[in-house]
Amino acid sequence: MKKTVLALLTATMAFSSVTMASDVKIMTKVSGGKTAGEHKAFVQVIEKNTGMDVSMVKPGGSYDQVVLTTLASGEKYDLIYSTSKQLEYFIKQKAIMPMNDLIAKSPILSDRNRISQEELDVISRDGKIYGIPNKFEGGTMPVVRADWLEELGMKDPATLDQWYNFFKAAKTKYGAYGISTKGLYDIQPFMSAVGVKAGYVMIDGKRTVPYATDAAAPVYDWFAKLYKEGLLDPNFASNSSSDMTKLFLSDQTATVTYWDAFVGLYNNIRTNQDPKTTFRAKGLAGVPGPDGKIMMRRGDSSIWVIPANARKPENAIKFLEFWHSEPGYLLGTLGIEGIDYNVVDGKYVLTETGKEHGLDHGAPRVTSRNWVNPFGSLPGVDEAEAIVLKHASLEVLPAEWSKTKKILQKYAYRAMLGKVTGAEAVKAMRKDLAKSKLID
Amino acid sequence: MATLSLHNVIKRFGETEIIHGVDLAINDGEFIVFVGPSGCGKSTLLRLIAGLDDTTEGEIKIAGQAVNDLAPSKRGAAMVFQSYALYPHMNVYDNIAFGLKVRKHPKEFIEERVNEVAEILQLTPLLNRKPKELSGGQRQRVAIGRAITRQPEVFLFDEPLSNLDAELRVAMRMEIARLHEKMNATMIYVTHDQVEAMTMADRIVVLRAGQIEQVGTPAELYTAPENVFVAGFIGSPKMNFISVTSKEFDGTKQTFTLESGQSIKLPVDSPTDGEKQFKLGVRPEHLFINRTGDLNITIKATASEYLGENTLVYGDLNGQSITLKVDGHQTILPGQEIAASAAVRDIYLFDDQDRSVLQNYRRTLLKDALSVKENKEPATAA
């Protein structure tokens, strides 16, 4: 482990040595150019718009580790891209600063039409705002082959039985899996059928984990049935998102559970491959619960935070103001004029590069509800996004969630593989959770 | 025990022929020593007999049965290796018992045999020791014991004593000889040491460059070498060779002159016309100083070695080195001129071309050549 830390430290030091003496120093993950060359141009656009000398480091892999080791090494950044998952830890370690005052002074960042109160709440603790959202966060949902549904003469499935019938029909007709999913992460739309929410839920001041309650048991059994009949991609425990994407794009599964934004990407890819394709991906809502309520999940938000040791927090704000205004919106979505797109007669036209980049340079959708993407959006995305906005909510994922998740997965997978019943699984989950003091 | 015979045995490794057609017949119970300089093929020949290498051509028979196609273990031969080849992790008992265990003999039988062998070789107190806890001589005895237990038809020894110090070597030599007598087994023993060969063998097979030079009892080889090589190889220090040129023949004797101008008249069976090159051979122990004989030479001493009973004197005769074995009390200084002589009966005449012996004057003069029987004494008594 020491070695890894050392390697990361040296790596970050190497980064920093090139980037001294600029007006603002930023570390970013997805927001930026897709290639080294494009990233350079990306930074130039920021510099042109903010009038600052910008240094924007975009490390390759292991982003979270690089951030942590950079901070631990005392390296000074003005702004860091992170996710809400890390927030608790940063706050506990006093590694980032509250931004209330800075935001209050900025007309752009305090404009609730640009950044909604709800989105700020996610990043706030005890009234202190610890970050600024990077983009609008969608949620995960079942993405189905709408063209298959149509061919099969079925309507959008809305109950577990209807989903089952669809999967079965798809397997019979197309020889595909009914559904491919990636662990427990994305089964929320089906858990919705029994009114169960992911993460932690506080009941009477006690921590509970709904996925470990008896209510959840029938859904695990339902998955076990899917698995037994070959309707569920058996690789679910070890799937990666690229595995799922591959299956979905090669007609090997009727459904994947993934981000709303990917509805558009899937359609875009297949259309680019074959303009006459009948392929049509569509995002669907979760299954309504006993009370008719649909519970879906929002993703962890990607956020910008200012480290406690930042030299020029005010310059970080300048960047964020740019990022949350028109030119920033264009940069985060379409990308760089001349590389990703051109404006011809007032119309935005994507270049080949731009098409490849799929309207995503870190913020495929911006937080502003007023700004309209001049290029429009990819097919199916708006509908999917509307469903997420309507039904999805954030979960409570405290620091102990990583441990809790492991326990849930262990027994949920066993149940989904049919090795134990759903009822046995949730019982075992609760026992382990209680033993490790992860529920009250 | 068994007879053993080789018929035109040839061994090639790829293109290279190592053994060039060897014929040999070995009698039942005979102790045969293969001797020769390194690279002469003596070990290869032994390995062919053992079956560790395949014979390219020819036939090997043990007890009348052709064994060419038999596995080594099926030939009824046991071998003692130069490195002893003891299994390091097994104790003495297991080392000796291994061959019997492999052949799935009953446990009681094995125990009886191992103990018997250990008794013979005085290994009984060492049976539980590992090879690394034994001295060189003890290891050698274990290696021999391992060969004995199987009661083979033929024993093969591959330079078994060369890793031992001089004293032990003498002791082991006698031990092996004693063993041979006791077991009355056919044994083939490979060595490069002619002293070992002389002292142990019933018959010696002198090999050179993959061919047999001569086969005979130690006395035969000593007294009646068939060529320059055998004459030089057997006997220590080695025989002196002096170049001579043939001169006139007087009807009974031919005159030969040395390069130093001296001459000697020798009887020959077939006289030579004109001048031709020959070699005279005379052993160091047959050259006497301060005495007049049939062959008289004057040599210049270059060095001497005092050995107690004898002194070896090294000298030079017209560029040819000459060794003399004189009485121990004689003091010869380097540079000193020495007159030495030899009697005709101690002289051999060799053809300088094919290096074969032409005249063996001991034989010529003493018609009753030495018999095998008389000369066997020193070999077994040693």
Binding site: M1, L68 | S73, P88
Partner: protein
């Protein structure tokens, strides 16, 4: 090198104050030669080790130490119900990897000796050594592709009618440890084979010939000569494999998923999770120190046991 003990004595006597400067001068080049190694050990081994221990008794996070906590981190670890599981995983995986990793390579090593055709020998040697050159990412990638539910093996088995549903090699709690052991052994077998192969080549051929004269079969020769003659090498390989297996990380890290992670999370992986993912350096270093203690005790125990043999 023969001079070294003398050099050490001179150094010791110098330390004692008897100041034999003549000796010191005599061995000055030797001191110069070993200095870089001593510095290397200090900088890259002893200093980090002492740091690890130091951090393990601190509350240590992003902003460095926030105070001495004694053995609290160690108590926390042993209180963690996962940790005992982690120790179990580490030991079971280690035993598996060590046992198969030091026995199985004997087979290809012997095969290499027996193959006399040079081209075939080289080919076989290269083939068996190849996995050792791959990084773990590639190793796991290869096997995941080959053994995935839609991979070649499952496809063949299904089309032959041997199985109805694909076997989930990477998502089965019962196979998880076996898969790690299998892949590790597969990766390392070439390396160990080469070690055994060269050891076999140095065995006195007389031993085999003696056994051949005794009528031993191939198996008896392997069992009674090759294997016993390999003992010294096997001891070393055993120790290397054991210590290496305690560090099992890459394979477990890459293969891990929600279903099987509790079976294959090793101490090294636990250290990584605590240190890098959770960035709880106090806990991570405490776990690291525990790993170190286990490794040292095992190494000493193994040495003690094998020395007497």
């Amino acid at each position: 090198m023969v001079l070294l003990p003398d050099a050490i004595t001179s150094f010791v006597s110098f330390r004692k104050g008897s100041m034999d400067t003549r000796l010191l001068k005599k061995y000055a080049p030797l001191y110069v030669l070993i200095t870089p190694i001593i510095i290397y050990f200090c900088v890259f081994i002893f200093y980090p080790l002492s740091q690890a221990f130091y951090i393990s008794i601190q509350e240590f996070g992003l902003l460095g130490s926030s105070g001495f906590v004694g053995l609290d981190n160690y108590y926390t670890i042993f209180d963690d119900s996962d940790f005992l599981q982690v120790i179990e995983n580490t030991i079971v995986l280690s035993l598996g990897i060590t046992f198969f990793g030091f026995t199985l390579p004997i087979i290809p090593a012997i095969a290499l000796v027996e193959i006399t055709q040079m081209a075939a020998k080289r080919w076989f040697q290269t083939l068996i050594y190849l996995p050792n050159l791959f990084s773990w990412v590639i190793i796991i990638g290869i096997w995941m592709t080959f053994l995935s539910p839609a991979g070649s093996l499952n496809s063949v088995l299904i089309s032959l009618g041997i199985i109805d549903a694909p076997i989930l090699f990477f998502a089965n709690e019962d196979y998880a440890r076996g898969m790690i052991v299998f892949q590790t052994v597969w990766k390392d077998i070439g390396y160990t084979t080469v070690i055994y192969f060269s050891a076999i080549l140095s065995i006195n051929t007389d031993l085999y010939e003696a056994a051949e004269m005794d009528g031993a079969t191939v198996w008896q020769k392997i069992w009674n000569i090759t294997i016993p003659q390999l003992y010294p090498t096997m001891k070393i390989v055993f120790l290397i494999t054991l210590l290496g297996s305690l560090r099992t990380f890459d394979s477990a890290y890459l293969m891990s998923n929600g279903l099987i992670s509790h079976k294959i999370t090793t101490l090294a992986l636990y250290v990584y999770e605590q240190g890098i993912l959770e960035f709880d350096l106090g806990i991570a270093n405490a776990a690291g120190v525990i790993l170190l203690i286990i490794a040292i005790s095992l190494a000493l125990a193994v040495q003690k046991i094998t020395r007497n043999k």
